[in-house]
């Protein structure tokens, strides 16, 4: 919602993406509650503050603008599939995340102009741990990504579960170019 509002108010989708992540960062931080029931105050040792990763995508009829924090990812699913994000992680350990213990963090932004129709897939590591390669994701999802994105997301989730997925899985598929509002 924050992203929609920001994108509606700012023609620069990169800036809108960053603003939305700032709102998300604040919201996640606000979830933290100290042992006394008072709002959590970030300290050096910040055990117990809820934290999360973040990924967003704005798809226009020209460009794809993604924003992310941590190891949630965005992929291009098309004739030549590719990863659109670079994990904020080193050796499997997150170097950026959203949470009260992280301070105010905003998303890193990438832009991409597709060379033809396809879809943008945003997902958490619950999916990509089992299907990391863009080509694998495209094989599963490309055929229905444009016509039935929800079915494509469900199919991807099923693949991850079949592969033994135990982590929570978040998957969103957005067709490109986007359908004009009816």
């Amino acid at each position: 919602e924050a992203l929609l509002a920001a994108a509606a108010g700012d023609p620069d989708l990169g800036r809108a993406t960053v603003e939305a992540s700032r709102v998300a960062s604040g919201a996640v931080s606000a979830l933290a509650v100290g042992p006394d029931g008072e709002p959590f105050v970030p300290r050096g040792d910040a055990v117990g503050a809820p934290s999360t990763t973040y990924v967003s995508a704005v798809v226009t009829d020209q460009d794809v603008v993604v924003g992310w924090v941590g190891d949630s990812r965005a992929y291009w699913i098309g004739e030549r599939p590719g990863l659109l994000t670079t994990d904020h992680a080193l050796g499997g350990v997150l170097t950026r995340w959203l949470g009260a213990d992280a301070g105010e963090i905003t998303a890193q932004v990438s832009t991409f102009r597709p060379d033809g129709p396809g879809a943008v897939l945003v997902c958490s590591d619950g999916l990509w741990n089992y299907l990391p390669e863009p080509q694998q994701l495209a094989e599963v999802a490309l055929s229905m990504a444009r016509t039935d994105p929800a079915a494509a997301a469900a199919e991807l989730t099923r693949h991850a579960l079949d592969a033994g997925g135990r982590d929570n899985i978040t998957v969103v598929v957005v067709p490109y170019p986007p359908e004009a509002p009816a």
Binding site: D63, G82, T86, Q108, V109, S110, T111, F112, R113, D115
Partner: protein, 431 residues
């Protein structure tokens, strides 16, 4: 800032002669004047290849980061800037979005953010340029410049895709391109630099990047006027054969003409500081009677608001005195030779690559002779690393058996770099 425009030509044509050649030297000097106020805003975008190959060896990416830090430190205060990492997509590194003014704190933040640069993924230069175009959008009155560094082939997009982007980004900003190592394509990067009115060069060793980035950024900071065009008026019935920048390097502008009035066209020249460039203008005029004089062209430099600065006249005079009409203008001959030299090098290297020893020897021999005659000492030195020179005057050479990729690519990349004509006296033309 003012422009002076000097024309060098032999204006005499034989009876029925049609082709008029002139070298036009344009010199920008001084600081901002009311007529030509300096752009008070600059946007500088630093684009660094972070494809997976930048990790091999790891010192390459490290050197690129260090060079980027040096470029950031070279930015003058208040210059709007951004750092972009390019792979098959464009990752914004700093600031989070858009551009920010250079201040001590933003420079420090930007350098800290370079840690986000990771070597991963492919190479799609078009995506990087589109990202830079978005960053400079809305700063039309600023001097807009990008530095682009790559180490490899543009393998994640087709040549057609890149061409489409180059057409779409024309005039959006100027870009100086650098290739590090020897795995990139000279022709490809030259296409980018030509379309976006910048330079292309090789940085053979990653260790050389920092100095190069410092020099490029400093040169960009010295530009004071953006979007200057060369305006050429030609008379009724005349045809413009070509308009080429010929110094400091060769850049054919013929196809870049934008009609700006009756028989008048503008050719983009990018940003200017205190500097001098030479242009070769070739106009075909309808023949006139012996003794007739004609204004064959009028050259001036124009700003985006239409202000014209400086003016030079290209003349045609028909004569039956062969002593006059066959006289060769020194400047025209020099730069015609520079063009032949660049062609001989590029064709010779291409022949060498395809195994055509005979043709390669002939072309590179011709290049050696031309470089020797025209005084291109730097080019002669580069040629001597690719061929053994027996006679530099006649251009007798033998191909060297073992040539490093670096030497070959350096020669190719710098083939379009020209030597200025030796001009001991004041400019007064020859005709």
């Amino acid at each position: 800032m003012t422009f002076s425009v000097d024309v060098f030509q032999n204006e005499y044509l034989p009876e029925q002669g049609r082709e008029v050649n002139a070298i036009v030297t344009v010199t920008g000097s001084g600081t901002a004047t009311p007529a030509a106020p300096a752009s008070d805003r600059r946007v500088e975008v630093i684009i660094v290849d972070t494809s997976g190959s930048m990790n091999y060896p790891p010192t390459k990416l490290a050197a690129a980061k260090q060079a980027t830090a040096v470029a950031i430190d070279t930015l003058r205060d208040d210059v709007l800037f951004a750092v972009v990492a390019g792979s098959h997509v464009a990752h914004q590194i700093y600031p989070a979005a858009g551009v920010v003014p250079a201040t001590p704190s933003s420079r420090a933040q930007a350098k800290a953010a370079l840690a986000l640069m990771r070597g991963d993924g492919g190479t799609a230069i078009g995506q990087w340029l589109l990202h830079a175009q978005r960053l400079v959008a809305g700063y039309d009155d600023a001097i807009r410049h990008a530095i682009l560094l790559t180490d490899g082939n543009n393998q994640h997009e087709t040549a057609e895709e890149l061409d489409r982007v180059l057409t779409a980004t024309r005039g959006a900003f100027t870009v100086d391109c650098r290739g590090v190592g020897t795995d990139w394509q000279v022709a490809e990067l030259r296409r980018v630099a030509t379309a976006l009115l910048g330079t292309v060069d090789i940085v053979a060793e990653p260790a050389g990047l920092a100095d190069d980035f410092r020099a490029m950024t400093a040169a960009s900071m010295d530009k004071t006027l953006a979007d200057v065009a060369l305006r050429l008026w030609t008379p009724q019935g005349a045809t413009v054969r070509f308009v080429k920048q010929v110094a400091p390097d060769i850049l054919d502008l013929t196809s870049r003409r934008v009609e700006s009035g009756p028989r008048t066209g503008d050719y983009p020249t990018g940003s200017w500081g205190g500097e001098s460039r030479d242009y070769h203008v070739c106009v075909e005029v309808p023949p006139a009677a012996v003794g007739d004089r004609m204004l064959a062209g009028r050259v001036s430099m124009v700003l985006p608001d239409g202000t014209a600065l400086g003016q030079g006249m290209v003349l045609a005079v028909w004569t039956d005195d062969e002593g006059l009409s066959t006289r060769i203008n020194k400047e025209v001959a020099h730069y015609t030779g520079q063009g032949e030299l660049a062609e001989a090098i590029q064709e010779g290297l291409a022949a060498r690559k395809s195994g055509d020893v005979e043709r390669a020897t002939a072309k590179l021999g011709r290049a050696v002779a031309l470089a020797n005659r025209l005084g291109n000492e730097d080019t002669a030195k580069l040629l001597a690393k690719v061929v053994d020179v027996e006679d530099p005057v006649r251009g007798t050479v033998r191909l060297r058996a073992a040539v490093t990729g670096v030497d070959e690519m350096t020669l190719d990349t710098r083939s379009t770099k020209t030597a200025r004509v030796r001009r001991p006296t004041t400019p007064d033309g020859e005709g």
